[in-house]
């Protein structure tokens, strides 16, 4: 009985955490370099989730990781490994221009109250099972539809923003305003956020410089998108940055009561 009560309490807490904007752990895709040159080049891509950026902590599975070449064709992820702390694969760049590496995720989380107790839906529930999983006497039903997109960009030669950057129109996405790699400290960068393909106006965007382990202050920069969904970033210095945002939207799944979309990108900034 005590155990169930703790579980129920935990459930309530995690649901609360879910609905909040703060993310304790940051998902990331970390290229060994975002700029390369020559006829072809190799970069190593790490995929993980961690509190300390960009230190390996927990691996993210490579199952949903996709790579788009500058011409918009898909490059298969081959020879990947999932270690104890991060997943990793080597990417062979053979086309001139900017590659996009994407990890998407999504699902449904939620719970309800039955006889005064909080109950959670199974973790791996699919949308079609929602209706049958909620008992008739359930109250306070909260079903959260979630989607996440984690990206990074690698350029061979000069940057391009071609076919690889065509928005999917689903969830929260980043659209290039100019290029998506090749950033330097003395040039402010602009990014446009899209929610379901439309400018995501007035959403909170967080910028965190990598290397958090080597400083006391978190150095987080909080920004808000303008009416066009655009943020302008003045880089505090060179290095790898984690750029994250989340937005709420109208649910698309039958039965969902809320919807949350999140986005994160790793961006490298060099000295000019």
């Amino acid at each position: 009985m005590i155990k169930t009560r703790i579980l129920a309490a935990l459930g309530a807490v995690s649901m609360l955490a879910m609905s909040g904007a703060a993310q304790a752990h940051h998902p990331w895709i970390l290229p060994s370099s975002t700029i390369a040159d020559g006829q072809d080049a190799w970069v190593t891509i790490d995929v993980g989730v961690s509190e300390t950026l960009f230190a390996p902590e927990r691996p993210a599975p490579l199952t949903n990781v996709k790579v788009w070449a500058p011409d918009g064709t898909e490059v298969p992820v081959e020879g990947g490994v999932s270690g104890k702390q991060r997943s990793s694969f080597d990417l062979h760049l053979t086309q001139q221009g900017t590659y996009k590496i994407v990890n998407t995720g999504g699902g449904v989380m939620g719970g309800y109250k039955q006889g005064g107790e909080m109950k959670r839906l199974p973790r791996d529930i699919t949308p079609d099972k929602i209706a049958s999983s909620i008992p008739a006497d359930a109250t306070d039903v909260r079903i959260n539809e979630m989607s996440s997109r984690v990206e990074s960009f690698v350029t061979l030669g000069a940057p391009t923003e071609g076919a690889a950057f065509k928005p999917t129109g689903k969830g929260l996405e980043l659209q290039p305003v100019g290029h998506m790699s090749d950033f330097v400290t003395d040039e402010p960068a602009k990014f446009r956020f899209l929610a379901d393909g439309k400018p995501a106006a007035n959403i909170a965007v967080t910028l965190i410089p990598g290397g958090t382990r080597y400083r006391d202050a978190r150095g987080e920069v909080s920004l808000t998108t303008d009416a066009e969904g655009v943020v302008t970033i003045k880089w505090p210095g060179a290095g790898m940055y984690w750029l994250g945002a989340s937005a709420k939207g109208a649910p698309t799944i039958q039965g969902a009561t809320e919807r949350r979309m999140s986005y994160a990108a790793t961006i490298e900034v060099l000295t000019p």
Partner: protein, 167 residues
């Protein structure tokens, strides 16, 4: 040797018809500092002009790198001159006639550069040096293609840089 010869030739060829309008020459002296380091390699140097905030695209005037390597292998490291590489180097093919040159030993290196079809105006002449096992440095000289002298100096990888612009 052959390359510096072609540099001179290009200078004449372009200067002749262009004198009416724009072409200027720049007598440039770049001092490569003597460094007391365990392992010394002569620096790679890129020289280009750009117009900060202007409309004229950056133009490469010279790139000094290891020309002697087989299969053009010396170009592998030219991207270490990051500023230049980003502003035009990466879209260039090397060796380039009148632009490629050998690296220079410590001491003053004197070259004459031709600005070709650049419109008369104010520019930054940028000299960027990068050394294997060493650092990188960028020195900027504000110049006017109408004529004049500009001086600047680096602190680590470059010494005094002097440009005399002649129209």
């Amino acid at each position: 040797m052959r390359l510096s010869y072609s540099l001179a030739l290009t200078g004449i060829a372009v200067a002749a018809p262009a004198t009416v309008t724009t072409a200027a020459t720049i007598d440039l002296t770049v001092t490569i500092p003597q460094l007391k380091v365990a392992e010394y390699h002569k620096p790679y140097v890129a020289i280009f002009v750009e117009q900060p905030g202007g409309t004229v695209a950056p133009k490469t005037l010279a790139v000094w790198y290891d020309l002697g390597k087989r299969n053009n292998a010396g170009t592998k490291w030219v991207n270490e001159m990051r500023t230049w590489w980003r502003k035009g180097g990466r879209t260039m093919k090397l060796p380039a006639d009148g632009i490629s040159g050998a690296t220079h030993a410590p001491g003053p290196a004197k070259v004459t550069l031709n600005t070709g079809d650049l419109p008369v105006g104010k520019y930054d002449l940028v000299v960027e040096a990068s050394r294997e096992g060493g650092g990188r440095e960028v020195v900027r000289l504000p110049i006017n293609l109408a004529g004049g002298t500009a001086k600047a100096a680096g602190t680590n990888e470059l010494g005094a840089v002097t440009a005399v612009v002649k129209k």
